[in-house]
Symmetry: C2
Subunit: 320 residues, 2 copies
């Protein structure tokens, strides 16, 4: 029996013992959606709950991969295991293709304590916003305690995915204001921590003032977490320890305050709503291609039936 | 019994005798959606089928209202009755408010052969794309033979609504290229007739060449209708007769070729699909606010159930 056809349950059991090929295969199945993905969800769901996710996002070129790599290095020095999901909604390619380009990440390619995986759009639009939390659940279930979710870009989908992490790190550069004007509000909304990467460049102080000012204006509640701003030079590893300590401080804050539980419950509600909407869309497509549809449409054309009456008849039997 | 509470069927009967207040009231009910709108649809559906719709769209300031008013004048000289729906998806106001500003239209306000009505967004997004065809069906059912549907703007919704007419007129001005760059493709796709309004201004010839070139590139089938380009100076009534003759020529063309029937069947299919999608959305909202949802979400949080399993359970009983 070829590896390709190992049953999902067997792959899942192997993944839990640390079999990297099995983990990669399971993530491919999750990415693809379909029956196996559903089975993986059923297997993973009861086992997880201990992983903590850190989202990283920022404009292309902001140095997210370098920062991720430096962060991995910091964690590995303390013998902490880590999984990285690098998500690029704008890319039609999957897994290996992108990963091959991520030279910095290659430093960790042979380290069994590090699992790095790229995910890209497969099949229909918006698929990643459902596939990403499923991938996180899988990694959680097989025992990964720290999951970094890196998204490439500052578009709506990227911001949405990064914002679903427990702690979200927004990476900017000196002079960022000009490049991400469009989605500044979205980034401000999801940021728990700001990193000014390439902080040795001109304009870093100005960028910090810019961020502080926006935070002043954002009208945080009195006892809320105010996103700290951490200057970093990722290529030299400078500021990476500070960044991680800040992430841990945020984690402590939201765990103690109960905010973490509220966030997770909210995220789950959003995810469930999205799954239900997706299922209903699918149902609508099925309805719209059936024979009954053609008959009813003909009746409307011949004015024996009005459109809403036809819709009633189409939906009849599914109680909608 | 106050007019406000006249039963829908009574309003409908009155509207068919030409009672303008009854027509206005019915259109308000259509705009609002809801049970009365459904009843109006049921009453109107068997009666229509003889109206012809002409869509007019173009960027704000292109002179659509002036053109519409001049066209009404041309039709009234021949004693042809006409109804105008002026649709502004970007406006939160309805009926009278916009209409009051439409000074040019006022010329026809006291003419019983002209019925003018503005429709704006009421309630939820996209509502107009469903309300517009229902309003057309109502006007058709009460005996209006010519219905002009004017949309303000060149956004996606405007283009969509205007494109649902039997003949669609796209109004541009000299130098239009710069102002509507964003949605040129959408306008090219829906146009059956181009009007260059303000054709006495500089750049009219260039705009014509620009349009001709785009039509050359658009790869029309050999025997297809090539949208004519009609120069007009609406404020002086120049070119309005040409425009209407062109509309009539297009009508003749699509009636003879069978294209009109195909368009209407296609439009109806789209409308039905949208109604079904709307109904399913509504259902999803109902599901997402019910008690069952809360229970299931709790089960997922407690890892007794996976999200897709929860979605299955939520949709259980509606067969989706």
């Amino acid at each position: 029996m070829s590896r390709r056809h190992r049953p999902t349950a067997e792959l899942f059991a192997d993944a839990r013992t640390g079999d990297r090929a099995a983990i990669a295969r399971l993530l491919s199945l999750v990415e693809r959606g379909g029956d196996e993905a559903r089975e993986i969800g059923r297997l993973a769901s009861p086992l997880g709950g201990t992983a903590y996710t850190v989202g990283l996002t920022g404009a292309p070129g902001a140095g997210k991969s370098t920062l991720t790599s430096a962060t991995i290095g910091h964690l590995r020095k303390q013998d902490i295991e880590v999984a990285v999901l690098a998500i690029d909604p704008s890319s039609p390619f999957t897994g290996g293709a992108i990963l091959g380009d991520r030279v910095r990440m290659q430093d960790h390619a042979t380290d069994p304590g590090v699992f790095i995986r790229s995910m890209a759009t497969r099949g229909h639009l918006g698929g990643l916003s459902l596939a990403a939390p499923e991938a996180v659940r899988l990694l959680d279930a097989i025992g990964r305690r720290w999951i970094l979710v890196e998204t490439v870009g500052v578009g709506q989908v990227e911001v949405e995915i990064a914002g679903k992490a427990d702690t979200t790190v927004v990476v900017v550069n000196p002079g960022w204001g000009d490049s991400v004007q469009a989605n500044k509000a979205g980034l401000m909304e999801i940021a728990d921590v700001f990193v000014i990467n390439k902080a040795d460049r001109k304009g870093a102080d100005e960028t910090r003032r810019d961020l502080e000012q926006m935070l002043d204006l954002s009208d945080l509640p009195h006892d809320a977490w105010r996103p700290p701003i951490v200057p970093v030079v990722a290529t030299e590893g400078k500021g990476v320890v500070d960044l991680w300590d800040t992430v841990l401080a945020h984690r402590e804050h939201i765990t103690t305050s109960g905010e973490l539980d509220r966030r997770r419950a909210f995220r789950l509600r959003e995810e469930l709503r999205e799954i239900v909407a997706r299922r209903l869309e699918q149902k609508a497509r099925e309805i719209a291609t059936g024979e009954k549809w053609d008959d009813l449409q003909q009746q409307v054309l011949e004015r024996q039936l009005d459109p809403w009456g036809a819709a009633d008849a189409m939906l009849d039997g599914i109680g909608a």
